[in-house]
Symmetry: C2
């Protein structure tokens, strides 16, 4: 199909498609004449994936480029491929990144100097114990684990150190979701589809779970506080 | 304490603190002379909260302003207060917002015109059935439910319509996390603390859960694919 048809089918304006082509998010079409290219179903699907990562996943164009690189990477064992994809999808606050802000755990709350503050030390110890208690096969220095340490340390710094008491319940629920995710992924046959499923499921799955958690909170709040109106 | 001491204790530079004061994220200090103000422990705690929402929660300064307004709002029954706080924390893709991107579900994948596309109609039906099946007390048009519809429709558009099969497992896990959240919140006595706990727990709790989900995926992947290296 021509670029105009691709635009009509996906609702993405032609100039935007051209921008994605320049940025390498979309592979070039097949040239049918010196200044005319033809696009296939693969382009349409990839374009929808880019839009989903952008709109629902909230990823930057640069991050989408990295994720697509993982999808297109055909080498290495499946587990490493999945790990590479998952690593690029870890929220940025754990290890800096392109976000404008300063890094959590490296500034606010520390008393200057390069050593981790007390909250970070405590959180790191708590996370290590969690991994051990659950028997999770996770390498030390895993980026998601570091992100968890940063989030818990931040909670402690704003007076919510008690939040760690919820960690076991959260981990239990996360284990259920993580297993469900992998079962879904394991249905794929081709490795390209496999990695794509992880990427899509991880980014959009976060959005799905966050929405469900809000809904469950609204329900729990209605049950707990809905009947009466405390006078504060 | 003086502003310099507040800066030293929190690691936030003085010009940044002054910016937060101008933006209303931090209440003014008590004037001790015509051009000198004094700050208390409340300022220090609020400043750490702002930094946590910014660095770990990834909220914009404008969004933080809205969240703090919910924290500081002393009127109305607790359930409505919690609902107001939760609503401001729904991810932006469900209902537009300050993010630069287009809205999901209103452009990509629709065949032009204002009517919702087939994926949105199907997703809306699926979410309605989920709410009914679980007996969740949620008003129609709830923003989190709309965000869930948008995420599921996006998944379907990129060829992952099968992801809805996971919805019940996700909802089961979310219900567990949502109840845990409310139990944590219900420990608070003062209503200011109550709302603050919801806000902090929701924003940072998403980060905690996302990190735990990644860790559980890595573990599940290691168990499923780690032993062998498929030749793909």
């Amino acid at each position: 199909m021509r670029i105009g048809e691709l635009s009509r089918r996906t609702g993405v304006p032609v100039p935007t498609i051209k921008y994605y082509l320049r940025e390498g998010l979309l592979p070039a079409g097949e040239l049918t004449s010196p200044n005319q290219a033809s696009y296939g179903d693969g382009h349409e699907r990839r374009l929808r994936l880019v839009r989903a990562l952008l709109e629902v996943g909230g990823l930057s164009v640069a991050a989408i480029g990295e994720v697509l690189a993982a999808v297109d990477d055909k080498d290495g064992p499946v587990h490493e491929l999945l790990g590479a994809a998952a690593t690029r999808l870890v929220p940025e606050f754990g290890d800096g990144g392109s976000g404008g802000g300063r890094k959590a755990g490296s500034g606010a709350g520390s008393d200057g100097g390069g050593a981790p503050d007390a909250e970070t030390v405590l959180a790191r110890d708590r996370v290590a114990r969690l991994i051990e208690a659950r028997g999770w096969r996770i390498e030390s220095g895993n980026k998601a684990a570091e992100a968890l340490v940063a989030a818990l340390a931040s909670l402690a710094r704003v007076g919510h150190g008690g939040f760690v008491d919820l960690l076991d319940d959260y981990a239990e629920a996360a284990e259920r979701v993580g297993r469900t995710d992998l079962d879904y992924v394991a249905r794929r046959v081709a490795r390209e589809d496999l990695v794509e499923a992880v990427v899509v499921g991880t980014v959009l799955g976060d959005a799905v779970f966050a929405a469900l958690r809000r809904m469950a909170q609204v329900d729990a709040s209605a049950r707990m506080f809905g009947e009466e109106a405390p006078t504060g």
